[in-house]
């Protein structure tokens, strides 16, 4: 059964120059134990659709969908109070800028324990024990001492590990990672991706990986959705997407990878988008 099932999601923002449609009729589902990658360039609506699931969009946004089912309940129909019990507990999210998403005024220990207090109602000793266990799990050395560190005392990679620890604190069923490694170095990126995938396998979570990096998709995903300007361009399992992309846009994205450069020039997306589709497929 699908863990998260969204049909026909539309997100519109009220702007000074009229409504702007950021997500235009996207349907997607994630199963348990599955890694879904949503890939697209900036402005493709990939982050906005996931923020809509989390209920984190500002009041200027209007979210509509035929359904947005999570664990048998429609997230758009339940009350805000009920939704707050699910968000952060059963669905957790990791953001792009690890240093900016932590509160600089509190120790990382306080911030991890806050989640445990709010959702699980643990007492002080339990919280501390669990927080140490979590930091150990995400690979931070000397976890007991690090609980008293402030975010600015840790590196970017370590802050991202703390974010992951907070996200998995309540054993979520679904983890949404929004560009989790974009701000990090390649060697750290590799460590964080390995950590996410191993935690996903260990706890049988569903994982949604939002990224613009085709390499990250290739290294982590089971299934891929390609988005462009708020619309879904293509959905395929990872191997067939790379082997035989169906939409023109996906093909353009893949050929714009510097790895695939033929001769001196890189093909660009605009070169490809205006060519007619070879067999009526796609964009």
């Amino acid at each position: 059964m699908a863990l998260l099932d969204i049909q026909n999601l539309v997100v519109e923002f009220q702007t000074a120059s009229g409504p702007f449609r950021a997500v235009d009729g996207v349907s997607l589902h994630v199963d348990e134990r599955e890694v879904l990658a949503i890939v697209g360039e900036s402005g493709s609506g990939k982050s906005v659709s996931m923020l809509a699931v989390m209920g984190l969009l500002p009041w200027t946004a209007t979210v509509t969908a035929d359904r947005m089912m999570f664990g048998g309940r429609d997230l758009l129909k339940i009350s805000l109070a009920e939704r707050r019990k699910i968000i952060g507990k059963d669905i957790a999210m990791i953001f792009q800028e690890p240093v900016a998403s932590l509160n600089p005024c509190f120790t990382v220990g306080f911030q991890i324990e806050e989640v445990l207090r709010f959702h699980l109602g643990m007492d002080r000793a339990q919280r501390r024990a669990r927080a140490i266990e979590l930091l150990k799990q995400v690979g931070i050395p000397e976890p007991a001492e690090r609980l008293n560190s402030f975010p600015h005392q840790m590196s970017g990679g370590q802050c991202q590990r703390v974010m992951i620890a907070m996200a998995i604190a309540c054993n979520p069923k679904l983890l949404i990672a929004d560009e989790p490694t974009t701000a990090l170095d390649v060697t750290i990126q590799k460590q964080i991706l390995d950590l996410l995938v191993s935690l996903q396998a260990k706890y049988g979570m569903g994982l949604i990986m939002i990224t613009h990096n085709m390499g990250v998709v290739a290294e982590t995903a089971d299934r891929v959705i390609v988005q462009y300007k708020g619309r879904k361009m293509e959905e395929a399992d990872v191997l067939s997407l790379f082997e035989s992309p169906k939409s023109n846009y996906t093909r353009a994205l893949l050929s714009a990878l510097p790895d695939n450069a033929v001769g001196d020039r890189l093909p660009t997306v605009s070169d490809m988008l205006f060519e007619p589709a070879p067999s009526g497929a796609g964009a």
Binding site: V186, Q189, A201, G215, E219, V238, D259
Partner: protein, 275 residues
């Protein structure tokens, strides 16, 4: 072949002042790096954050002086700590920064952005500055209609084109590119890389290209230098470095780079199934 830029044992130390609870200490950002780039070629400098690659870029661009070592530009020794920077030297070396949003003045029109290097460094009249700016706009793929617009009216890729145009206004021989495409989307990145390649051909430009993205480096570089904790741990032609990396750090770097080819996806899926 003439060497446009050459560095011999360049060292840069930063002194961090002590406070009430901490003594002063010295950070060795660049520890004796040597390199040279020939006319019309591209040297790529690769490394992770904190390895000193941007410090080296600032030294080559004559923004910061080196603590020790020699820097030669067009065969002439340059020491800005002792002699200061002449307008002639500023003409020869220009830089494009990583963040196109941060490197343009939001209150300056694009025409003025492009005219400013000429205003400061030459005594060309306003009319001529305007003509040159118009020409340069066309060179980088923008149009005369963009002349009177402000930076916020452009996309990230267009802003990076403007930053490149500004750097080329003085007709430099050496262009330092500090992560010029890492803030851009994949498709826009391809356009900017193509533009850089075209401009290099047209003006016989020499590039020092700083990046952490190995796939970009492989595409654009003639020579590659890998930096790690302030030292050049690997330096050679692109094919040498990519086909036969010698230093352990270079190998780690290659292993960490995500691969987007079908064979490695198959290998990963097979491994996952077995687990």
């Amino acid at each position: 072949m003439t060497k446009v830029v050459e560095g011999k044992n360049i060292v840069r130390d930063y002194h961090v002042g002590g406070g009430l609870f901490r003594g002063a200490r010295t950070v060795h950002a660049v520890k004796g790096v040597s390199f040279s780039v020939e006319k019309g070629k591209t040297l790529a400098i690769v490394g992770e954050s904190g390895c000193g690659k941007s410090t080296l870029a600032r030294i080559i661009t004559l923004i910061d002086p080196a603590t020790a070592g020699e820097l030669l530009i067009d065969g002439n020794k340059v020491d800005i700590a002792r002699d200061g920077l002449t307008k002639e030297m500023r003409r020869k070396v220009q830089i494009v920064f990583q963040n196109p949003y941060g490197s343009l003045n939001p209150r300056q029109k694009i025409g003025d952005v492009l005219g400013e290097p000429l205003l400061i460094n030459t005594d060309k009249p306003a009319e001529e500055r305007r003509d040159l700016a118009m020409k340069m706009l066309k060179k980088v793929g923008l149009g005369p209609e963009h002349y009177n617009r402000y930076p916020h009216m452009f996309s990230g890729g267009q802003r990076q084109r403007i930053a490149i145009a500004r750097a080329l206004m003085l007709n430099p021989s050496l262009l330092v590119l500090d992560e010029p495409v890492s803030a851009l989307d994949l498709s826009v990145q391809a356009q900017v890389l193509n533009l850089l390649a075209d401009l290099q051909d047209e003006f016989k430009l020499t590039y020092v290209f700083i990046s952490h993205d190995l796939s970009v480096v492989r595409y654009i570089a003639d020579e590659v230098m890998v930096m790690y904790f302030g030292e050049a741990v690997e330096y050679g032609s692109r094919d040498e470095v990519f086909s036969d990396p010698k230093h352990a750090y270079t190998k780690t770097l290659f292993a960490a780079t995500p691969r987007a080819d079908v064979a490695s996806i198959k290998a990963r899926l097979a491994k996952k199934k077995a687990a």
